[in-house]
């Protein structure tokens, strides 16, 4: 694959200073409260060792005597334990589709995915969340885990720059691998066009309900939304960017109409599946500016606050 001239080559090209400044005020949020590895800044349903009182319960043998409320024992002569809410950190998992189909469109879907991943990762890092990134595609499965803190921003950026969009996605295997190796609970954001021959259902099923609050960001290039407006007409031979398969098509008004119906059906099927599995499906045209996506679009969807 030849290197595109407009592909980002430095971290600064993935995320610039003004965007970083605007993202500093954001934090990743989750519809759930998760237990983290270390105490974080989020409440958890688990009773823990935070300072926020939760409840009392009678003492039973084996309980930690440090949590006995001696004031109540003095008044009632009975032992009660004092329970507190435990605060946990957030695990942010970024799953980036590095298949060949992502390296297409204007703007390029893969570049757009990397910019969005960089911005989301930056938000996670500056809020001391545990950030993990996974790239999957024909180039293989590339994990980057254990990032925390603003100083790891460059590491994340460099990792994104090193990714290549080639070959088949291997989405099912990638999702299963991510689900099996998860560390704690958190928010998982999948950046993909979801153009998988075997479908995305099996892969998404692997991660849904496994402790992840999953967001499926479906990237759509403008050429995919309306190929007729982008010079696709006449007798053509389509080459699949992933597997090199060829399809001969005579692009007519009927064919374009049928393609539009197929596109809607594909997106609708993905959305319905996501709804059933508690996954947030967000179709993202790549013409949407990244800052607008994060500051407006995803905030309204509850991913950022």
């Amino acid at each position: 694959m030849s290197e595109r001239a407009d592909a980002p080559k430095t971290v600064d090209q993935l995320i610039d200073g003004p965007l970083m400044a605007r993202l500093d005020a954001l934090d990743v949020t989750s519809r759930k409260i998760f237990q983290g590895k270390v105490q974080g800044e989020r409440r958890s349903r688990r009773r823990g060792q935070s300072v926020e009182f939760a409840d009392f319960r009678p003492y039973v043998a084996g309980d930690d005597l440090r949590f006995v409320d001696w004031n109540i024992y003095g008044r009632l002569d009975r032992l009660f334990l004092k329970l507190f809410l435990e605060e946990e950190d957030l695990s942010l998992v970024l799953a980036i589709d590095c298949s060949g189909s992502m390296d297409w469109g204007t703007p390029n879907k893969f570049d757009y995915a990397r910019r969005v991943a960089m911005a989301l990762g930056y938000v996670g890092l500056v809020n001391h969340n545990r950030v993990s990134a996974f790239g999957f595609g024909g180039d293989g499965f590339h994990p980057l885990t254990g990032l925390r803190g603003r100083r790891r921003t460059r590491d994340l950026g460099q990792w994104l720059l090193d990714r290549k969009a080639v070959g088949d996605a291997g989405f099912d295997d990638a999702m299963r691998t991510i689900a099996m190796g998860r560390q704690g609970r958190g928010v998982m954001i999948v950046l993909s066009d979801f153009l998988f021959r075997d479908g995305a259902e099996k892969g998404l099923r692997s991660v849904a309900g496994r402790g992840f609050d999953v967001y499926a960001l479906q990237l759509i290039a403008p050429e995919e939304r309306d190929p007729g407006m982008h010079g696709l007409t006449g007798d053509l031979r389509f080459i699949d960017s992933e597997d090199g398969g060829e399809v001969e098509m005579t692009i007519t008004s009927k064919a374009l109409e049928a393609y539009g119906q197929a596109t809607v059906a594909h997106a609708t099927a993905l959305r319905d599946f996501c709804v059933r599995r508690g996954i947030v499906h967000v179709p993202v045209p790549t013409t949407t500016p990244v800052d607008e996506l994060l500051l407006d679009y995803l905030r309204k969807r509850g991913l950022l606050r």
Partner: protein
């Protein structure tokens, strides 16, 4: 259905249809476009075998319409023709009859000639409408009448044939075909200088538009390589009756009065009753009180030939001024009005001037007894000398009598030859006969009026073998005895024997014959007494010396200026229309004129019923109808259909895209 160029159509179809089908079976070489995924496209693609050479043949309206358009174009290239009447050799001779009978107007009000010309135009269009890639036909146009006239030699230009057909005028002549065939064949055999060494082209289609009433049909044959298509014009049921002949004779006692007689013929299968009128100088002068009853035409059992009904009529004497026009009219409405009239020019009553050359005393005595203006006598030597020194000298005499002399040559004049060898072309003297008796005589001929030859005995006579244009008046036991012939500028009556070698001078008929002969010759030679001639004949006229041009006015009042080179031997004609023609000239500052009567005199032209088939030698040719000969090229329609299909294909394509 005839295919003029089937190979062209096959080649076109073979060259285009398989590639078209291959375009649909073989995969198109389409431009490649990389897309993110073919996932969403494949759901509407029926065939994904992108790497196979062939694909399954699918139903496609575009393919059907394109194949149909190519098939139509291929058919057009093959140049189908919708008629069987094609000229096989590509050479055609259009023979169009313009005789008197072709002037008959049939049910549609158009004459047969007009109909023939229309069909001939259509035929030319059909012949030249073959197509772009066929060899152009060669067409020759010949007009038939008494003589054949080539109006257009073999030509590959349609306009020339059309112009030639348009130029055909109606005549009142008879129809002959032998001449036309000879002329056409002579053109066929002319070697083409552009094709030196090439094999002689053979084969021609003779297309004849006629009513079949052709005088010399029995002498015509269709030679090998020729084919004759006969297009009968008119109706077999056409009716006609007419004046077949008429004569005028002056009464001996009163030269200003003439007796008129006529012959009425009926060519219909029913008898006819009609009035007959006599007109003089355009005024009705007499009507037969009871009309005439003309018997029906029919087969003559004795002669086994078809004969028209005939009746002879005579009118009471009427006064006619010199050069008066005498016309006999049959008051009958039939299909051929041209022969319902016959006009004649009455001879003037002026007395003749006679010159006797070497005359015997008997002849001289008879001549001096005749009612003539003057009688002069010279010897043969004197005649020869004076006529050679001054040719105009003989113009002073109306009749020159050569009595027993044999001059080597004679200047144009009117001669009565009594014995001796007459030096006229066409007489062909070849010896002498002895003891000759009379066998037959044309008793109705003006020369034989009041002449009885029953007692004639001739001891010695010149033997003649006359040509066909020499009219034999008296046939002897061993050859002609009295003949009459016309030669340029003059006329002659030839008696094959010297009267002194017979008992004729002792009979009353000799005197009557001499009177008849002088009157006959004088009348024919006088300026205002031209005989009635048949259409197509020429008329010799002796004009006064000094006349350099004349005007010839037709019965339809069309004037033709003619330059005169020899006033003594001027010939006008051929005069093709029946009626009174007028020759005008200027003499001494005054206009002079001479009428010439032309009338249909051939009974064969009177039979106007169309023959549905004609016989040439042993071959009988059935007539073809006009519609059968039409040939229309279908390729323009096929091209139009192909364009329509292509337009439809374009619309279908637009709807699909």
């Amino acid at each position: 259905m005839t295919w003029l160029a089937p190979l062209a159509g096959l080649i076109l179809a073979a060259a285009t249809l398989p590639p078209l089908l291959a375009l649909y079976i073989l995969r198109l070489r389409r431009p490649k476009r990389t897309v993110a995924s073919t996932l969403l496209w494949t759901r509407q693609v029926e065939d994904l075998r992108a790497n196979s050479l062939f694909q399954r043949m699918r139903m496609s309206w575009l393919l059907i319409l394109q194949a149909l358009a190519i098939a139509l174009l291929a058919l057009a290239f093959a140049q189908p023709q919708a008629d069987l009447g094609l000229v096989e050799s590509g050479r055609a001779v259009l023979l169009i009859d313009r005789s008197a009978s072709m002037g008959v107007k049939d049910a549609d009000g158009r004459s047969r000639l007009e109909q023939a010309k229309r069909e001939a135009h259509e035929r030319v269009d059909a012949l030249f409408g073959a197509g772009l890639f066929s060899q152009a036909p060669e067409v020759m146009v010949v007009a038939l009448a008494r003589e054949a006239t080539v109006l257009s030699p073999f030509s590959t230009i349609a306009a020339r044939a059309h112009d030639a057909i348009d130029a055909i005028d109606a005549t009142d002549e008879t129809t002959t075909l032998v001449d036309a065939l000879d002329v056409a064949r002579s053109f066929m055999e002319v070697p083409n200088p552009d094709k030196q060494g090439a094999p002689q082209e053979s084969g021609v289609t003779l297309e004849l538009w006629s009513d079949g009433r052709i005088a010399d049909l029995e002498r015509c044959v269709v030679k090998p390589g020729e084919s004759l298509r006969y297009h009968p014009m008119g109706s077999p049921a056409a009716r006609n009756a007419g004046v077949a002949g008429a004569g005028v004779s002056r009464l001996a006692g009163n030269p200003d009065e003439v007796a008129v007689f006529a012959r009425i013929m009926n060519w219909n299968e029913a008898s006819l009753h009609s009035d007959v009128e006599l007109w003089v100088d355009g005024a009705l002068r007499a009507v037969l009180p009871k009309g005439v009853d003309v018997p029906a035409a029919g087969e003559d059992p004795s002669r086994k030939t078809w004969l028209p009904g005939e009746v002879r009529v005579s009118f009471p004497s009427v006064t006619v001024k010199p050069d008066g026009i005498v016309e006999v009219r049959l008051v009958e409405t039939d299909d051929q009005p041209a022969d319902n009239r016959m006009a004649m020019v009455a001879a003037p009553a002026a007395a003749a001037r006679v010159l006797l050359v070497g005359a015997s005393s008997i002849t001289r005595g008879v001549a001096q007894a005749l009612p003539v203006k003057s009688v002069d006598a010279v010897t043969l030597e004197e005649f020869t000398t004076r006529s050679t020194a001054n040719p105009a000298w003989i113009d002073a005499f109306d009749v020159i009598v050569l009595d027993g002399t044999s001059p080597p040559a004679l200047p144009p004049a009117r001669y009565l030859v009594l014995g001796g060898t007459a030096p006229f072309e066409g007489l062909n003297p070849y010896g002498e006969k002895s003891d000759v008796s009379m066998r037959s005589v044309q008793a109705t001929h003006p020369l034989m009026r009041f002449v009885n030859l029953d007692e004639l005995g001739v001891s010695r006579a010149v033997a003649y073998s006359p040509a066909s244009d020499v009219e034999t008046i008296v046939e002897g036991s061993d050859g002609p005895l009295v003949m009459t012939l016309a030669r340029a500028g003059g006329q002659a009556v030839v008696v094959a024997f010297n009267p002194l070698d017979s008992n004729w001078p002792f009979q009353r008929g000799f005197v009557n014959f001499m009177a008849n002969a002088v009157e006959f010759l004088a009348a024919s030679g006088r300026e205002a007494a031209l005989p009635t001639i048949a259409p197509g004949d020429t008329q010799p006229i002796r004009l006064p010396s000094g006349v350099r041009s004349i005007a010839l006015v037709s019965p339809a009042a069309r004037t033709q200026e003619i330059t005169v080179t020899d006033p003594a031997q001027t010939v006008v004609g051929p005069l093709r229309q029946a009626g009174i023609w007028t020759v005008r000239w200027q003499e001494g500052g005054e206009e002079r004129s001479r009428p010439v009567a032309v009338a249909l005199q051939d009974p064969r032209e009177g039979r106007v019923g169309t023959l549905e088939s004609i016989s040439l030698g042993l071959e009988t040719v059935r007539g073809v109808q006009g519609g059968e000969s039409a040939r229309s090229a279908l390729w323009p329609w096929l091209i139009l259909a192909a364009l329509a299909v292509l337009t439809l294909e374009w619309l279908v394509y637009l709807r699909k895209v």
